[in-house]
Symmetry: C2
Subunit: 214 residues, 2 copies
Amino acid sequence: MAIPRAARTQRRTRIQEEKEEIILEAALDVFSVSGFRGSTIDQIAEVAGMSKPNLLYYFRTKEAMHRALIDRVLFTWLEPLRAFDANGNPESEIRSYIRRKLEMARDFPRESRLFANEMLQGAPHVEDELRGPLKALVDEKVEVIRAWAKAGKIAQCDPYHLIFSIWSTTQHYADFDVQVRAVLGDEHSGEGRFEDAARYLEQLFVDGLRIRQG
Amino acid sequence: MAIPRAARTQRRTRIQEEKEEIILEAALDVFSVSGFRGSTIDQIAEVAGMSKPNLLYYFRTKEAMHRALIDRVLFTWLEPLRAFDANGNPESEIRSYIRRKLEMARDFPRESRLFANEMLQGAPHVEDELRGPLKALVDEKVEVIRAWAKAGKIAQCDPYHLIFSIWSTTQHYADFDVQVRAVLGDEHSGEGRFEDAARYLEQLFVDGLRIRQG
DNA sequence: TGTAATGTTTACCAATCGGTCAAATTATCC
DNA sequence: GGATAATTTGACCGATTGGTAAACATTACA
């Protein structure tokens, strides 16, 4: 008889690793478009190319799949902010932060949309993580930015809103991709639009913060 | 026998006007949080305080409710951009555009989230409107901004991405409200945060575009 | 006040939902 | 190769889904 996955303590099988990966990949496809409530296990099973009971053998509930995805995304999503370096100079740090966030929007749009979906629904599954680890990390970087402002390296500004504005402008290209494409028209919707966006955003933030090379 | 609403040609009744308003209000509550697929007619009926068949007497399908909402939101949502005046001076026009968009995020967050949900799902119900009327309006305003840049009133920049960045930064405060509150902490999450955001964003864009009074 | 149109409700439908179960199949390891 | 554990499947469950039919209640208007 099969032992329910959650009760197992043994090392994971090769098949387990592979199948769980396939399932999470399919779940990301579905959840990122339809949100948690709007997605069905059947949809995910079909995308994953396996039967529903088989899928439920690896993740016992829909919540379990969603939680596994969210945990993974939350971690990697904050990678660029973690890399934000207090010892670097303001201009290059902000430039590369924008770059990295924009690259993530381009390379991992589903992850961005999964997160956006969760926010729109009021973060029912991750509010604790937002108030805990996320806030802690942001608070830390806010202090860095404040120090830069105090030293006259950048203009006086609210560091929280600065971070919000970088998040929103970059993630916009993943979350509102369909709108961006529609407005730009098919001719300007190629991959070049990310380069255009990077150029514009770097100019906006560097000049907007009146950054002086330090 | 009751005549299906869609087949009626007569003027709308007082009861119709009232009930349809109540239903759309409830539908906005539900759709804006859960998206189209994740929302149920039963939820909407409960929020509206009427029975499901009664609700379906006024809107024959879930799609009909959603479409009615989207149509209404799409129109009012573009009001600030329509007000964007080519004859005004760049600084005050951009300042007041940011203000207006921020006020809408504050006063109509459900409408913003409804739209965001639709975008995340790939705009299955409104892609035509995006490629048609929306693109047309944006193209028109883009020309205004281009003229400003040509006249040296603002820095050279891609007007499309400028508009995207104003959209994203302002709507962020509605769509990601829960994250903003979590990061700012309960002490800074009052209504004052909109004033802080307005101050920061105006500074960012005015300096970022190196606007010179015209 | 009568009556026809409008509005509301109860009971119901087939389809889909998340999830279970036991049986059948496959992989692993001695 | 055989025993044992891991994996997969089809059949199924009760609850919920979007939506309907028809009886019933209310309103508007002559």
